[in-house]
């Protein structure tokens, strides 16, 4: 079952955390800003499939990664998926407590890097 065919149609609405913006402005990622923006746009259009999107496990259940390149993932949550799969307790974001959630909200938590 593909979520994309069942759930809200794109585009989703982007929300960026302070951590995401700080990382984006850092020396490590600033030079990649254009390609990171392109990947964010792709993810906003197809959040369940784009950029080799994967649901993370264990302590990060409820969050997803999508890749800028092989070693640089973007970590994000999709409000509608969080509600549908009951991940609010795991994610525990500001939107998780809302009575009328904005299901098309997509929160980019951070840009990071694999360990090697």
């Amino acid at each position: 079952m593909r979520y994309g065919t069942l759930l809200s149609p794109p585009p989703y609405n982007a929300v960026y955390t302070a951590e995401f913006l700080q990382r984006l402005e850092s020396r490590e990622f600033r030079a990649m800003a254009t390609v990171i923006r392109e990947k964010c746009t792709l993810i906003l259009a197809h959040p369940y499939e784009a950029c080799r999107s994967e649901r993370l496990k264990h302590e990060w259940s409820g969050k997803r990664s999508g890749h800028v390149d092989r070693a640089v993932p973007l970590i994000y949550t999709i409000c509608e998926e969080c509600r549908k799969l009951g991940d609010q307790e795991l994610n525990n974001l500001d939107c998780c407590l809302a009575e009328s959630p904005e299901l098309t909200r997509l929160t980019f938590l951070t840009i990071t890097r694999h360990y090697r």
């Binding site: 609405n13 995401f20 800003a33 951070t110």
Partner: protein
């Protein structure tokens, strides 16, 4: 002979080492696996058991060295697991509470899947058979093991082998009877969990979203637009 491991193989090794040590600590009821020598030999026993059945779980290269089989891959895995706060080492190597949580989830989600159960059995057998034994008992048993070094047909006792004789290597999937299957979401989780900076950054991002420290929409990109030339 292939000694270089892919990133996926390194992640699988690190996850299996953590799972093995977690099972050893659970089996023995002790708060530690043992000293470096014992911790190294336990990985060898599990790795060799898989390798001799051509089961592609561990991918470490072990060779005969002064105190029996050793592997630079295991040293590298220890360093990485310690940096990530999953293993601790003072006099002995032990799994931290965070490491135990990750190992337990990895065992439940990955190793207990039907196709991966044989790999879990190798780890569990090693933990059960050797976990409580002293390092000298383990070392004596290993020295007396009869093994054919890579590239040779005739087995000899590890004790009698020349230094640097290779005992295991990374198998290619095509040469293996079975391959450990780790789904991409778990591979991704391991790659992030083994980088302490990633772990902290994800936590900070979640804290920001919890506290409402967020910005909406595309305006965030304005500062990064290249000026017209």
């Amino acid at each position: 002979m292939r000694e270089e491991r892919t990133e996926e193989e390194q992640l699988a090794d690190e996850a299996l080492i953590l799972a093995l040590y977690h099972l050893v600590q659970n089996r023995t009821g002790e708060g530690a696996v043992g000293d470096r020598l014992k911790a190294m030999k336990l990985v060898f026993l599990a790795n060799y058991a898989m390798f001799s059945e051509r089961m592609k779980g561990f991918n470490c290269t072990f060779y005969r060295w002064e105190y029996g089989p050793m592997s630079n891959d295991v040293y590298a895995a220890w360093d990485q697991l310690k940096r990530a706060g999953l293993l601790d080492e003072e006099e002995c190597i032990s799994v931290t509470a965070r490491g135990a949580g990750l190992a337990s989830a990895f065992i439940g989600d990955v190793l207990e899947r039907e196709e991966n159960r044989p790999f879990l059995r190798f780890l569990d057998d090693t933990a059960r058979q050797w976990g409580r034994k002293s390092r000298s008992t383990i070392l004596t048993s290993i020295y007396n093991m009869e093994v054919a070094p890579l590239g040779e047909f005739r087995a000899s006792r590890i004790r009698d082998m020349p230094l640097t004789a290779h005992l295991t290597e990374a198998l290619d999937s095509g040469d293996a009877n079975a391959t450990l299957h780790i789904e991409p979401g778990w591979m991704e989780t391991l790659a992030l969990a083994l980088n302490p900076e990633s772990t902290r950054s994800i936590e900070r991002g979640a804290d920001d979203a919890r506290a409402g420290r967020v910005v909406r929409g595309d305006a965030v990109w304005d500062a990064f637009e290249s000026p017209a030339v």
